[in-house]
Amino acid sequence: MRIVVPVKQVPDLVEELELNSEGSDIDREFVKFVANEWDEQALEEALLIKEAVGAQVSVVAFDEPDVDQTLYTALARGADDAVKLTGAGDGWLSTAERARLLAQWLSGQSYDMVITGVQASDDLDGQLAGTLGGLLGVPHASVVVGVEPGSGSVTVTQELAGGTVVTTEIATPCVVGMQTARQAPRYAPISRIRQAMSAGGLESVEAPGEATGPAEGVELLRLYPPEKAGRAEMISGDAPAVAERIVEILASKGLVKL
């Protein structure tokens, strides 16, 4: 079984983000990039499957800032190989473009499962797994919290709204968007990361195409930092007093009629 885990880089939110002078993007010059945390969940799930039943785990990423660190860390954690797709362009890659390029690359690969993060902190759209599944013509499942491999199929557990948990059996090959793995992503000892670096097991491959910018008819005008709104009001007192205050607020906003 071969599991492909597409991962991406996102700005490290420990840093304060700033916009570039045109206001068209964040200032990528001085931002540190780290692995998308949901992709780390995807890799962990893939490694758990590998440990349970055996699998080849391949990690794939576009040539984004600090991506080597992420790929070597994946190898240190137990991934078998890592591919860096180069030449897809510099700036931010939208989920749709990402899916299109990945699907093109994947169509030349043999795989049983693609497991990727359900979303990333810089898109929050949760579209990658679904789009990828559609482009590849294979079934997909998102918001997954557990993958149990079977023969010719996998059983996925999804967490839906309202605390509902759904278990579905889907045929392989398939695409899975991972919410959380069955256990927290494992620690990658620095010595192992350094070993992976000196072993140099990173394969650079030309991306099957280049980013073409936003879809036709869509134009990015400007980014804004979140506006500072007023402070939250802490309501204290006993339940009737709190209720009365809430009703008052709702009424003042015109949301309820008294």
Partner: protein, 734 residues
Amino acid sequence: MLAVVVTRHILGGMGPAQIAVFYSLAVIAIAVFFYGLARRVAKYRQGRSIDRPWLRGPGSGVKGVTARPSFASAAGAVLTNRTVRRRKPLVGWAHLALFWGFLGLLAATTIVGVDYDIYGHIITGAIEGHEKTFLTGWFYEAFNLVFNAAGVAAIAGLAVLLVRRHQRSEPQLDYTRVDVKDGGYSRAKLVAGDMLFVDLLMAILVTGFLVQGLRILSEGFPSFERWTWMGWFVAKALSVAGISPNVAFYLHGVLWWAHSLMALGFVAYLPYSKAVHMITSAADLVATDPGPTRRLPALADGKPGYTSAADFTWKELLDFDACTKCGRCHEVCPARTSGGPLSPRDLILDLRQWLNTTRHIPTLLETELRSETTGPAAPPDAEPAGDVIRQETLWACTTCMACVEACPVGIEHVPTIVSLRRRLVDQGKMEPTLQAALQNVASQGNSFGKSARMRARWTKALDFTIKDARKEPVELLWFVGDHASFDERMQGLSQSLARLLHDAGVDFGLLYEAERNAGNDVRRVGEEGLFEMLVESNMQAMSNASFTEIFTTDPHSFNTLRNEYSSFGLEVRVRHYSQLLADLLETGRIPVAPLGAKVTYHDPCYLGRYNRITEAPRRVIRALGCELVEMPRNRDNTFCCGAGGGRIWMDDSHLEERPSEMRIKEAGALAVDRFVVACPKDFAMYSDAAKTTGLDTSMQVVDLVQLVEEAHALATRETAGMASGAKSGETETS
């Protein structure tokens, strides 16, 4: 033979058959002894090789901290029982009496053997034709005078130790495990082994005197036997008890055999039992090194941690065999005393049992029985880290070094624990909070997970700019450390220290955002790769800066910079801020007015115990006109706050009572106003502990810096009050 000859008959009154039996048994006992000893020695020779240079020439020790280890000083420690007497005078002196008493009796037996067998049978008997003895006349009298004293000393010393072992009322002699709460094990054999050892030794000593007394009684008290004073006394006592010379003669024959069989049995039993410590503990004291605990060894052959029995060094194998179960480590361990799952004693005993079983070393009454193949009963292919020693046990260690310090036989627990932790780290077996801290250190260079660029943000509140040592030369480089830089509770302390140094005109600077976590705790967690990465970053940053000396806020950073960075090329002097403050106060560069407060001082483990810096903070306290009431456990005997060795990144809610709470209660009994600390982690731990114990209402936790700041402010106010036209207006303090 004339009756007046001053001697006694060796093997007197025995027929040739009895003599033949005795000699056969003696040969067997000695053969069994040497076989057991050879098996042990062969085991040590299989241990991984490490260097102990003073066994060949002069050793180096840890500069400025410990004496240079040497064969002579180690031999001195063995012969004077210095380490056994330390902190435990009664037990120590009792052991010393037994030690020299036993050596005396061994010498006595050897002299008799040489006289009777070599001189008598071989030299004079076989060569000259008639057997002679040199054990006559004044020599016989002196022999008995001296060695009776040895026997009495041995009995007196052993009596104290025997009673202690039988009572088992002290916590360190209790073998109840702290890591296995639900049973499934029996340590009855260990107890039986202890009892057999002391009881057998006592029986041999007592029957020795009885045999002597019965002989003197049966011989009708020859006057020269008065020199055999204890034997004479026993003979008199037996006579008073109504034993006739004839009965004495008969009893002598019986007891002589009892005594001899027990003594030969003891010889045979020695290398298989607790008694082997007579050899292994002495050897371990000679081989012990004060270095590796302070300056942890690098990875062995690049291998991240111990994975099998083959990874232990010969010194570790010797350590394990040297343990006498005295329990001093068990007594002082902050993990054990706070209800954590670690007893350093049991860690050593478990590894010993597992390694002896794995290597097929025969032992007697030295094993714990288990209903399952876990812990010391783990199979030979088990993992030492995780199977033999549980993960929780290894993670419980604060690396405070109290065990190493307390151990009378030179066992180095801490490097062994770290070597085992390295394996856990390599497998990713750790608490999520620790993992997060390590990931933060790896990505941002600090355990707080804050941006590396925010490291020097605390300096913004100052009304002057601290020099950037990367941009202009400074005399002193201040290595601030994570806690003093990022923890909001400690940033104020860093600002205070900066103002004091600025006012005193000290030429100092920072590495600003280029500073990284120094790596002391990272290394002690077992993340050696990350430690090396941090050293590389810091060494790179320091190589771009110009300074002549370093001082640190954190005693942990201090330890690694002072003792470990030298292996990576750091060559400047490293001091702790308490040393710097002491000098500035004593030379009057920081003017202060006496505070008159009644304070106590808590020695940080990594300052007081690891690096023996105990006087500088006390000099500061004295210079401020404070009354210092010492903690009951102070200086190198200090008690850990529970935060060291990476514990600060782990959950401590499972503990019955936190070490910091136990410690602050110790201070609470001293009726002092302030609890003075000299370590940012201590400040955090004890501020919390004072609150949770309610002691914060009567006693304030303060850092040394705050105390100096207060006395300095007082002096500044007084000066301003006395003369309005002060020379310098720069000494204003908020």
